[in-house]
């Protein structure tokens, strides 16, 4: 039952072709239905693939030979294993809901057809990324999802901020891909192949140092794509794109590609503890770092963006701890509740006439009950409240870091990372409920906007409800009982994927769960006290350390450092080189030309244009030569 996987990417590709060719002129609104239907088809095919049964020993499916030159032979093909299927289910499922949502959300946009051209293209690229069975086609579609992200962030291209954000996203990703590409080429020269199965099978033939180098280079790619520190800067800006794009690309699917990649490359990362330490460390640091920024942001989508960065950091923490299953589990639950939160925020933004500042919101819950309750469920899931989806995955995730830390293989640093993760969870609960309170509770701060607000149309609310069901039930459904839920057993079929190190005693597991629940509860209570009861008031909290507040509000000045440091310096070098090109390189050329002309302008003075001068010279010459002949004969 595995001979039809090519159908899965084909559906969105066809939708892209049809909508791109005929959308703007003929199909117009119909593009939305075509796009949604195609993704539904892809989802159905994925489900069929899942039910049909995919095992770790399912052979790779080769599509065609990409290139064959000397010893460089690359095929484009699919790898079909449980990891792929889980990713595909998440990608196509969330994509379908977002497509349906977008029909309502984008209804009044003049470029409706363009939106439904790029969105299926993105889904196609994302599906292919997940299906790829070799490093090169992974890279190919890795970049292709990047360009779809570029096109969709810059969707409202007349806004300068949107265009800037789109370019920034692409460029930062390219920097990540720089490392990724080096890693791939190193793999080719050391393994002679780029197929996962060939490479993973012979990892042990190579030195640990080489594998560490390759792992770190590949990780740079993941850092770029999954917006980890220090390449996280593009993701918050990417919120300039339409909200469904933020939900799909910048929360649920594309940004998780880095997590998927590291999970897929597990045999390479596992070789050296240093690589895992770097992955976990970057993840833990980013989780805390981004959560702290999220506390001080006022734009609802930016809060969610930093939250995404932070959650991705937690997934990397789990990857570093060796708990691949848990990372993918959290990836899946996060896709649901974060897409829900984004779509919910989109519903709010839609109602508030594109206002994204939370300072203009307040008291919306009465006017948008569906949005409010689904958003609240998403927020609770994000905070990790029992028994919602986020609880199961986040709890296991932190537990995996804890057990890695106490294991006696010298990874004590993971204990630190665990504490950082716990802190991040605390901050997550605080900023999530800060956001909910500021948006839906209290008094309306902008009466004008508030009076025009209304619940969104059914095509937007229905996906919210479906996602909310996922956010509530998914974690327990696939993750219960902990460590032995459906998803664990399913992914366990991928060779080498195991549960986190030292899967502990039941008491330890339960106490860890209690700790993390307590942390989440504390966070929610804090947010309630500060933002709802105003005891102490937010202003008072900010006034405790204005510098710290400014630091958080300005996002630790990373953007400024990058702008003036890296971009400015590069442009400066460009200017200098341009001057060198014009003045020195071309100057030498012109100097040679000038020298020739200067010489000839001296010698040409012989040519007076006076015929008599010429004749005199001829006559004199004749006399002199005849005379010389006569005399010296």
């Amino acid at each position: 039952m595995t001979d039809f996987p090519w159908l899965i990417p084909l559906f969105p590709l066809v939708a892209f072709a049809i909508n791109g060719a005929f959308g703007p002129r003929y199909l117009k609104k119909a593009t939305g239905y075509i796009g949604s239907a195609s993704i539904l088809g892809a989802f159905a095919a994925t489900v069929a693939l899942w039910i049909g049964g995919v095992h770790s020993d399912t052979p790779d499916f080769t599509l065609y030979r990409w290139v064959s030159s000397g010893s460089f032979n690359i095929d484009i093909g699919f790898v079909l294993d449980p990891l792929t299927v889980v990713m595909l289910l998440v990608v196509t499922g969330v994509s379908f809901l977002v497509h349906v949502y977008s029909i309502g959300y984008m209804a009044h946009d003049e470029s409706f057809a363009r939106f439904f051209t790029w969105l299926p293209l993105f889904v196609f690229a994302m599906i292919m990324l997940v299906l790829s069975n070799n490093f090169l086609s992974l890279y190919v579609f890795w970049e292709l999802v990047g360009v779809c992200s570029y096109l969709l962030i810059g969707f409202w291209h007349q806004r300068k901020s949107a265009a800037d954000a789109a370019v920034k996203a692409f460029l930062v990703n390219r920097i990540g891909d720089f490392g990724f590409a080096i890693g791939i080429i190193l793999i080719f020269w050391n393994f002679g192949s780029l197929n996962y199965s060939d490479v993973f099978g012979s990892v042990s033939d190579h030195s640990t140092d080489l594998m560490l180098l390759i792992a770190l280079l590949l990780f740079i790619g993941a850092v770029g794509k999954s917006a980890q520190f220090p390449l996280h800067i593009w993701l918050p800006d990417a919120m300039e794109g339409p909200t469904p794009v933020s939900a799909l690309i910048h929360a649920a699917t594309m940004v998780t590609a880095g997590v998927y990649m590291v999970a897929r490359m597990r045999p390479i990362f596992e070789v050296s503890n240093e690589a895992l330490l770097v992955v976990g460390g970057i993840g833990a640091f980013t989780a805390l770092f981004a959560a702290s920024i999220g506390l001080a942001q006022t734009d609802i989508k930016r809060v969610l963006a930093y939250s995404t960065v932070s959650q991705l950091g937690l997934m990397f923490l789990a990857l570093g701890a060796g708990a691949y299953t848990v990372a993918i589990f959290h990836l899946a639950t996060h896709a649901f509740f974060k897409a829900l939160l984004f779509l919910g925020s989109g519903s709010v933004i839609h109602a508030m006439q594109n206002q994204q500042e939370m300072s203009e919101y307040g008291g919306l819950w009465r006017r948008m009950k569906w949005t409010y309750f689904t958003f609240l469920l998403g927020g609770l899931a994000l905070s990790g409240v029992f028994p919602l989806a986020g609880f199961w995955s986040k709890d296991e995730l932190l537990a995996s870091a804890f057990f890695k830390g106490v294991a006696d293989d010298g990874s004590w640093a993971f204990t630190v990372f665990w504490i950082m993760g716990l802190l991040a969870s605390l901050l997550t609960a605080v900023y999530t409920f800060r956001m909910i309170i500021l948006t839906f509770h209290g008094k309306p701060r902008n009466a004008e906007l508030h009076s025009h607000s209304h619940e969104s149309p059914i095509s937007m609310v229905a996906p919210l409800v479906v996602l909310a069901v996922g956010a509530v039930a998914l974690g327990g459904a696939v993750g219960f009982p902990p460590e032995h839920g459906f998803i664990h057993d399913y992914l366990y079929k991928v060779p080498g994927v195991y549960h986190f190190a030292g899967a502990g005693e039941i008491t330890a597991v339960i106490s860890l769960a209690i700790i993390s629940t307590a942390v989440a509860a504390f966070g929610i209570v804090t947010a309630y006290a500060v933002y709802s009861r105003r005891q102490p008031s937010p202003e008072a909290v900010a006034a405790v350390s204005p510098r710290l507040y400014a630091l958080l509000y300005r996002k630790y000045y990373v953007d400024e450092i990058v702008n003036y440091g890296i971009v400015g310096v590069t442009k400066g070098i460009g200017l200098i080189l341009w001057a060198i090109d014009a003045k020195i390189v071309d100057g030498i050329v012109n100097l040679i030309g000038w020298t020739v002309r200067a010489t000839s302008s001296l010698t040409r003075r012989v040519q007076t244009g006076q015929v008599q001068n010429y004749l005199f010279l001829i006559a004199a010459g004749a006399v002199v030569s005849v005379g010389a002949f006569v005399i010296f004969r």
């Binding site: 065609y64 000397g70 190919v140 007349q158 720089f178 590409a181 080189l577």
Partner: protein
């Protein structure tokens, strides 16, 4: 067995006929027919091309100057086949779009274009060094006229610079050709690789060939004629210049320098790699700061052609294959980009970023087309630019990690300058109210670019199809490791 002669001479016959016409439209029509005949013959040749063969195909030889063994000898192999296709494809496109843009001396312009096509095809198909040299120089004259007569305000400076630069190189090449003849007693390209050049001579021959080809490519630091020539040339001239003329340099390296002077190549390799890497980064950084669309694309050509020379001198088969794919791709993409610049210049009469902006709103179809080719140029996978660059990078890493790593920064910078260019020209608010009512691309422009776009996608999705043409021919190049 005269397919190749038809390909070469059909445009020249067309040029004569064009000069006999009386009106602008009939001149264009005749030129179009002549170039389409060439294209049809090329497609027929490619359809019959044997991809499994190792040597030259469709070889045709006649005595020309028997006293010194000069022949009229033409033939095609994997190294030249894509270049011939590129030439035969771009010329009708240029003729079609010139119909819209050239208003003075149309007849002469079309004739020059066709003579140029004959010259370029001859360069790629000649199998005799003297014949090669004749075609090489033949290319120079019509290009000189196209820039000098139909060019921009500073055209005389640009065209003289172009002429002198390339002429200096080619004169030295003539000396090298004679030296080869006196050393091996033959001009025959098929025979030459078997008659090894004396090692003492290889160095000198290499230097002479290197100057000729490096100027044409152009490699750093011989590139300064290129931005000037591009800025002043009419659109069609720029397309052919970037699309085909630069490839003559890369083709010359692969066809003549690699097989004839292997020892000298091995000695000079580190310098060649260094110059290539410099060209890649330097071209990209300078391109990033340009304010004129054409200059930006000109400097980006320097950067992209750096990948070509990097691949050629990597001494890896995958590098040479990649270099040819990169040349083919660069010809398509940069040719198309210059057409795009021409389209916007025809409408706005400016190429400066400071005057443009927000054109995406005015010209939505054009916005998609320019985005497509910009992305292809910055090496987006699944479009043609990526395949060649990646193969070259693989080859560069195989020799020295540093060259590959440095070349990769060029890929990052390419994204920067292309996207910033696109942003400044197409995105944001419209700067000039007069631009709000500009017409979008017309049917001729769309039809001219459509086949290029189709090939760009084809190369990107399945570069293997094209590499299969090449790889048996490059396998015969003697590499010294």
């Amino acid at each position: 067995m005269a397919e190749l002669s038809i390909i070469i001479w059909a445009p020249l016959v067309g040029a004569v006929l064009v000069l006999l016409t009386r009106s602008r439209s009939s001149a264009t029509a005749v030129a179009m027919v002549a170039s389409l005949v060439t294209l049809a013959a090329t497609v027929a040749v490619i359809a019959g091309f044997d991809r499994d063969a190792f040597g030259f195909q469709l070889v045709e030889a006649h005595d020309w100057l028997p006293a010194i063994g000069v022949q009229y000898k033409v033939g095609i192999d994997g190294i030249s086949v894509l270049m011939v296709l590129l030439t035969a494809l771009l010329t009708p496109i240029v003729i079609a779009t010139s119909w819209l843009t050239i208003n003075k001396r149309v007849k002469e312009y079309m004739a020059a274009m066709l003579v140029l096509e004959t010259g370029m095809l001859g360069v790629f198909l000649a199998l005799d060094l003297v014949l090669f040299y004749v075609f090489w120089e033949l290319v120079l004259i019509p290009m000189y006229l196209i820039i000098g007569v139909w060019g921009g305000p500073n055209r005389v400076y640009a065209t003289v610079k172009f002429f002198l630069f390339t002429f200096i190189g080619s004169v030295l090449m003539l000396v090298a050709i004679l030296a080869i003849y006196f050393n091996t007693q033959t001009f025959d390209v098929q025979v030459l690789p078997d008659r090894a050049l004396a090692e003492s001579l290889q160095g000198w021959v290499f230097v002479a060939f290197f100057l000729a080809f490096a100027i044409k490519v152009p490699m750093f630091p011989f590139h300064t004629w290129l931005p000037d020539a591009h800025v002043e040339a009419p659109t069609g001239g720029s397309v052919i210049l970037a699309g085909v003329l630069l490839k003559m340099g890369g083709y010359g390296f692969i066809r003549y320098v690699l097989p004839l002077t292997p020892n000298a190549v091995d000695d000079a390799r580190i310098w060649m790699m260094a110059l290539s890497v410099i060209a890649i980064i330097y071209g990209a950084l300078v391109a990033m700061m340009q304010r004129d669309l054409k200059k930006l694309i000109a400097y980006s050509s320097v950067s992209h052609m750096g990948f070509v020379t990097l691949g050629i001198f990597s001494q890896e088969q995958v590098g040479v294959d990649g270099a040819i794919i990169q040349m083919f791709s660069h010809g398509l993409v940069t040719g198309a980009l210059f057409l795009c610049v021409g389209i916007i210049y025809e409408r706005t009469h400016t190429r400066m970023f400071s005057d443009l902006g927000g054109m995406a709103r005015t010209m939505p179809v054009y916005a998609v087309v320019l985005a497509f080719f910009s992305l292809a140029s910055l090496g987006l996978p699944m479009l043609s630019g990526f395949a060649g660059e990646f193969m070259v990078l693989v080859a560069a890493f195989g020799w020295q990690y540093w060259s590959g790593v440095l070349a990769l920064t060029g890929v990052v910078l390419a994204a920067a300058y292309m996207l910033w260019m696109y942003q400044r020209v197409m995105l944001g608010q419209v700067k000039n109210v007069a631009f709000l009512r500009l017409p979008d691309m017309n049917r001729i422009e769309v039809m001219a670019l459509a086949p290029v776009a189709a090939l760009v996608v084809y190369v990107g999705v399945s570069p293997g199809t094209f590499v299969d043409f090449i790889t048996n021919s490059t396998a015969r190049i003697p590499f010294i490791y």
